[in-house]
């Protein structure tokens, strides 16, 4: 990955602009640009149609198979003939083109697998037919969720057509405390900007607080940029980023890696960069957040209640009324997983809550990838979850989008560490409350929306 060398530029630039500038192959009409894509992540749901198009009309010629990784992740192993065919199409296509494939036994959610396998680099561009590709912005990459045609175009010609986004600087001050987590920050960003408030913008995160966030936390934050409608999220790389990447597969070792780091160090916004919009968030003021409605912006602190001015349609779907205290809402099922919150630190947070306790409702815990699964098992987290009566199983996108392995029955209410609470998202008629892994775990124990500190209080009272 070649650097844009900001020191040679005259106009001060945001980090986004630097990455953008370094990848524009050609300016196009209407503020669009032909943007080179360093790496494409291809999964089984949105890839086959584009692959077929190239096979049928463009002699099956890919621009560069080495720039593609393929992952069966949404329903893997297959739940039916259709999903078996999807996986087979991706598998056969990858094999035919010599594309790296992560399949049954070594796969996971693509946004978890891509970074942990060292495929995401600061300053690079990434595309994937999946809206949560913005997760990868945590590495200082311009990572774009796109449709199948756009992904197909990138597979064919190495580029996307992108309308140049505006840039919003989201400055984070203070430190997370009082049980607040990166998920609560992500939900706060969406609640602050509004569900579509980020549309047309890249959210470029800044501020002293960033240095306190781990890569896992940064990925959680960037993951939900799309939930505010943003083009993507972006966080400049730092020592935390470099440490994460050092020693990963698909990265060079020794001096070769450190030379890359030297280049990556230049990937920072210029001090005088001008942004299209500025937002500040004080992390020290955050509390655990829980959604009450049918979009991720409809969320409030867990101590709160359903707002007085809540949308009537959301209330009807969720079977709630204004003023209802969140903690009073009973829950039928709990889920910890998804590209938002299924990395090792998420599982540790949930395990800390569940250790020595027992869930009172069906509870499903899925690691983000096979690698996360194994790391968690090395630490004994699987025993913590299973001692508590939760299901510990393999990685899958399935439950988060109602495709498999935990689909809700109509009317069932689930507290979930995922990213979307749209009507029917986790199953037709199912109701979803978004929260952090720790809050999901506490709620699983008490069978209602609950925060971990309630359990601590109970333990004290009981002891």
């Amino acid at each position: 990955m070649e650097m844009s060398r900001s020191d040679l530029q005259s106009k001060p630039r945001s980090l986004f602009e630097k990455v953008w500038d370094a990848h524009v192959v050609e300016e196009l009409a209407g503020g669009n640009a032909l943007v080179f894509v360093d790496k494409i992540v291809a999964h089984e749901i949105t890839t086959p149609q584009g692959a077929f198009e190239i096979e049928r009309r463009y002699e099956d010629k890919l621009f560069d198979p080495a720039r593609i990784i393929a992952i069966n992740d949404h329903v893997s192993p297959a739940k039916d003939t259709e999903t078996a065919i999807q996986a087979k199409v991706l598998r056969d296509w990858a094999k035919r083109h010599g594309i790296v494939l992560y399949d049954i036994g070594q796969n996971g959610i693509c946004h978890v697998v891509a970074p942990e396998r060292g495929h995401v680099e600061p300053g690079s561009t990434m595309a994937c037919g999946d809206s949560h590709t913005c997760t990868l912005g945590a590495f200082g990459a311009f990572a774009l969720g796109v449709g199948t045609t756009a992904q197909g175009g990138a597979m064919l010609a190495g580029c996307l057509i992108v309308q140049r986004p505006k840039v919003m600087r989201v400055t984070l001050d203070g430190r997370l405390q009082h049980g607040a987590t990166a998920k609560d920050l992500a939900l706060t960003v969406v609640a602050t900007l509004g569900f579509k408030g980020g549309t047309g913008y890249v959210l470029e995160y800044a501020g002293d607080a960033l240095a306190t966030l781990s890569m896992d936390e940064r990925m959680t934050v960037c993951n939900m940029a799309i939930e505010a409608g943003a083009t993507t999220g972006l966080i400049g790389p730092d020592e935390t980023t470099f440490s994460y990447l050092r020693g990963r597969e698909n990265q060079p070792t020794g001096d070769a890696f450190e030379r890359k780091v030297d280049g990556w160090r230049e990937l920072a916004a210029d001090p005088d960069a001008v942004y299209d919009r500025e937002v500040r968030i004080d992390l020290s003021a955050l509390r655990p957040m829980v959604s009450w409605g049918t979009n991720p912006g409809e969320a409030v602190p867990i101590d709160g209640a359903v707002p007085a001015n809540a949308d009537a349609g959301s209330l009807r779907y969720m079977d709630l009324e204004p003023g209802r205290a969140l903690r009073s809402i009973p829950i039928d099922q709990a889920f910890i997983g998804s590209c938002t919150n299924s990395r090792l630190s998420d599982l540790r947070a949930a395990a800390e809550v569940l250790r020595g306790r027992t869930v009172s409702i069906p509870t499903i815990v899925t690691p983000g990838s096979q690698a996360v699964k194994r790391a968690a098992e090395r630490e004994g987290l699987h025993d913590v979850f299973q001692d508590a009566g939760a299901l510990w199983t393999h990685s899958s996108c399935g439950p988060c989008l109602g495709m498999s392995m935990g689909v809700l029955a109509p009317g069932a209410r689930c507290i979930s560490s995922t990213n979307r609470n749209f009507p029917g998202r986790m199953g037709t008629g199912g109701r979803v409350h978004l929260a952090s892994p720790a809050v999901v775990a506490a709620s699983a124990v008490l069978g209602r929306i609950a925060s971990p500190d309630e359990l601590a209080v109970e333990a004290l009272a009981a002891g």
């Binding site: 070649e2 500038d21 045609t149 409608g229 979307r420 749209f422």
Partner: protein, 183 residues
């Protein structure tokens, strides 16, 4: 090029792609035949479609197509005969997918939507960039000057295919470090 047809009035904001086509219908490998699942995730969706069986223009509220990147949302609209969606705003990925599948994403303001939701039928002139209601009211809009060609010729992939040599040249220059001055 003019799109003329009956309106499906969908008076809701934030219609996400899970409502347009739920994920459990995304198990195919082709882009066709998805119309039967259109709005399957939306309360009242089936009734709305039944009440407007021959509609080809969807009029709706802000942030249409938010959520998942699934192009299936566009494919299901196309398969059902829709050729335009008129809204005050669109989510980015759906907006791109619409262009790439011959669905015109027409942006007009909220006041215009109020009027257009009541119109049984509309005439959309893509070249003049106007929406004409039966009562004679006219509303202007602006198409993306690049992407509108994809509406006419359906050629996103063809457009990119034609760029391949230029991209390879660019990539060679990048590899040689020759791009700095131009950015």
């Amino acid at each position: 090029m003019t799109i003329e047809g009956n309106v499906l009035p969908l008076d809701r904001a934030n219609v996400d792609t899970d409502q347009i086509i739920p994920a459990h219908y995304l198990t195919g490998i082709e882009t066709t035949g998805l119309g039967k699942h259109l709005f399957a995730g939306m309360t009242g969706g089936a009734e709305l479609l039944a009440a407007h069986p021959d509609a080809s223009i969807l009029v709706t509220r802000e942030n249409f197509g938010c959520g998942s990147s699934r192009e299936h949302a566009a494919w299901s609209l196309v398969d059902r005969g829709f050729r335009a969606v008129v809204a005050p705003s669109f989510a980015r990925i759906f907006f791109e997918n619409a262009y790439n599948n011959g669905i015109a994403p027409i942006v007009v303001d909220d006041a215009a939507i109020d009027a257009l939701l009541a119109a049984p039928r509309l005439q959309i002139d893509l070249e003049a960039e106007t929406v004409l209601a039966p009562d004679g009211a006219t509303f202007g809009f602006t198409l993306d000057p690049l992407r509108k060609q994809f509406l006419f010729s359906g050629g996103y992939m063809a457009f990119l295919a034609a760029k391949r040599d230029a991209v390879r040249t660019w990539l060679q220059r990048r590899a040689k470090g020759q791009l700095v001055q131009e950015t």
